[in-house]
Amino acid sequence: MTWWSRLWRRNELEQDLGRELQFHIEERLSSLRRTGLSEDEARRRVRQEFGGIEQVKEDCRDARRMNVLDDLGRDLRYTLRMLRKSPVFTAVAILSLALGIGANTAIFSLIDALLLRPLPVPNPDRLMSISMDAGNGRPEEAYFTYAMFDEIAKQRGIFSGVFTWAGHQFQMRSGSEMIHVDGALASGEYFSTLGVPAAIGRTLTSADDQPGGGKYGPVAVISDAFWSRQFRRNPSAIGSGLILDQVHFTIVGVMPADFFGAEVGTKPNIWVPLWMTTRVNQDHCISSRSCWWLIVMARRQPGVSQIQAQTTLKAMSPRILRDTVPTDWAGTLQKEFLRRRLVAIPGASGWTTLRREFSNPLAILMTLVGLVLVIACTNLANLLLARASARHREIAVRLAMGASRMRVIRQLLTESLLLCAIGAATGLVLAQWSTRLLVAFLDSRGPGFGAPGFGQSASFDLHPDWRVIVFTLLAAITSGLLFGLMPALRATRIGISASLKERAHNVRSGEGPRIGIGRWFLGLQAAFSVLLVAGAGLFAGSLFHLLTLNPGFDPKNVTVIGIDTDKQPEKGVPLIGLYSRLLERLNATPGVRAASLLWFTPLSDSGWDDYVEVPGKPDIPQDERLADINLVGPRFFEVMGMPLLDGRDFRDGDNGTSEKVSIINELAARRLFPNRDPIGAHIVLEKTVSRIIGVAGNAKYMNLREPDPLTLYLPYTQATEGVPSLSFVIKKNSSASIYPAFRAALREVAPDVPVGVVKTMQQQLDDSLGRERLMASLSLFFGLLALLLTSIGLYGILGYTVARRTGEIGVRMALGARRHDVVLLVLRETMSVVAMGVAAGVVAVIAMSRLVANFLYGIKPNDPGNLVLAVLLLIGVAMLAAYLPAVRASRLDPMLALREE
């Protein structure tokens, strides 16, 4: 009776049991009666002999029940005992798995959060993201004009709702300061299409999103976090006012905690109607046909498939584009525009540019990590194989003693599954912790000027999604089954008598149940390790080159603090005056060696470039006249530690009324004025002529990787047509923070101005290398991991091999082989496999070089020095790992070794 049928028929079995015991009692009674005992006497005797009937019943039940659990328990206990007896094996196996699975899970979590996880809205699979096909077949995230959005929104046949939004940083007063609050301007159907109702109050509707303001005036919806922070979760927040960008808004609703809109990687705190842009942005972007600032998404009508929506939208493209083409564009540009097509792509996981930017690095990382996992699994497989073959005698005996093959296989599988379970659990914990590290790394680009970064705080939902846990479980179970089943099947397949007699024949150099496949694994590990180590070398080399690059300026003790003057009533000359006053105040502050201004912070991946002209030299080709331009203040070069090679610096005398001046860098001087001193010459930018008064040293501008650009510096005091928000760049006397002093100065001079980004120049430098640092450190880590795993695997396998070949070694030594002959013997076999693996790895590196070429700087993927280093490292490590078992083999006493047979 199988255990499951027993479960079903429990009642019947109970009755059965009762009847069976009753029968026994009756029979005994009868026989006692026949010997002449009285009824009472007989009954008493029976009770005495039998014991309590209920107790017996219970024991019988236990006997049945226990069997199933018994077997399982026995297997587990046996397994645990076996594992405890070989702590090194257990530790290595678990560690290998934990690292392999942990690393994979960490990267997968990130990929999940970025690419896969759907928005927390109802029916996210019906959402679509609208973009434009730029003609090369690959749609990129596109920004649209309001006119285009309007037209797309009319496509009610395929879309039940179309919405748009634009990210925005609101200025809000908090206490005595102005701060920035992340938010978004959302169109009328934003909330209704996403389908998430407000937690309290209401969401924004089309009635609110009207030109000139909606029925209820300027209204806003806030996030749960903002509600907690600003209103301490008081429901009276609804109806209260907020002054944002100097406009009074009324709060009408609070969104639930997990809602963040549709842009992955952002966490807006405030949403206001889209048409409020005319007041908060004070521009007419919304009515312009050439202002590209909106992200568009839509929800499919029920019954409309993705393909239908895509084809219909594409078909409507020509008309929509025709109706919205920017009329002030040149004819050729217009024609090019009309050639584009609108594309609807699945938008279940929201909209983000991060996918495109980080897809490649993440893909590379996933591959690296996958390789590590393979190495870890092959390690495990090898170890399990070796163990199984070492125990084949024990297994043979068990089989002979009547254990079914199934039982033995089950026990071996229990072992590997248990190892994998523990490894996976540890890996999951590791993954949690390392995912946070990963995001912190990727987070290194803070919000740039208008560029979406990962956000200052981890705006990713990183808690383990069910997908991640399933992935880990799958990885664990698959490896457990795969790498446990094979050795188990192998080990139990051997003929019993064959292996029992094996002992006598161990002297032959055959290895009994061969670990042939184990050597293949070893070769594979060696190949992958070479790949990883070489890769690590490349990324580390890149980083090193970038780090040791001279950026042209000295970042030591230099801090950059930006302020936001867009909303200030002062414009033009009065605004310049504001900056000057602040600058004066700062230069008088203790702790400040020198302070100046700049527009674009170096190495922030943003800037302004344009073509300059030299009067009298019309024949300089255009691409040699492209210059990077920056607005700076006096003493800028002093602050940045850049040399002024010729002429003079800007000074207070250079203002709006005096002659227009400029400073160029050395490269520009050499290129544009090759044979003469540029001082006194003129240079033209956008029809404005300025006289060159100085030549500064070369410096990197937008990022470290580009070659030194031609640079033109203009004084901020002469930018009278429009002064953008500038940043103060301060050279400090020490490394102490200058921020409090800055805030004090700002409060004195301009209390209504909010502070923007605050960063030291060193931080800026480091951040600009964020991606490189990530790739380098991760690949180094994985390379080392691969080396570690491979060497451990090698050590383990060799240990077993030597243990099993003690007989052969004994004979050899008895026949005169010396110690180092034995060492060589052991080494030679393994090293040949490793060597083959290394060769294969080198070939792989060369083959894959093109894939990573884009990420490297200053080093080619095929760099021979790097390859040689990787190969040497691997061989060295392998020899080291093999050395110990080899030496141990050579130390065997031949007499003992032979007698062991």
Partner: protein, 116 residues
């Protein structure tokens, strides 16, 4: 007369072996097993119900015995046990090792003692 404890003093493995052997001869019900064990061993082996039936159920759940209900000599219905193939193999191996053990013990015990 000393009251026998409800549990027998036979170790579990030995009891199993004896039960299997009795059942091997012919299918039999629990009461008969107890009787035969007592008879054949000349009263040396007495297995109370409290040990016998749990053992039978254990052996059955391990697949060494199979049971069905039949009419006993006395006319009542009783649960009869018979040996499965697995049970037979188990019986043979266990019996063989028991015999080896008994032989070894006998050899050691029959050693002449000093001064005897």
């Amino acid at each position: 007369m000393a009251k026998p404890s409800p549990k027998s003093d036979l170790p579990q493995g030995t009891l199993d072996l004896l039960i299997l052997k009795i059942v091997a001869i012919q299918p039999v019900h629990g009461y008969a097993i107890a009787q035969r064990l007592q008879q054949i061993s000349r009263d040396t082996v007495q297995v109370p119900g409290g040990s016998l039936y749990p053992a039978l159920h254990r052996l059955e759940s391990r697949g060494l015995l199979k049971s069905d209900w039949r009419e006993a000599d006395s006319g009542r219905d009783a649960k009869f046990y018979r040996l499965t193939h697995k049970g037979r193999v188990h019986l043979e191996t266990q019996a063989a090792s028991w015999r080896r053990l008994a032989e070894a013990v006998g050899l050691i015990l029959s050693l002449a003692e000093e001064g005897a």
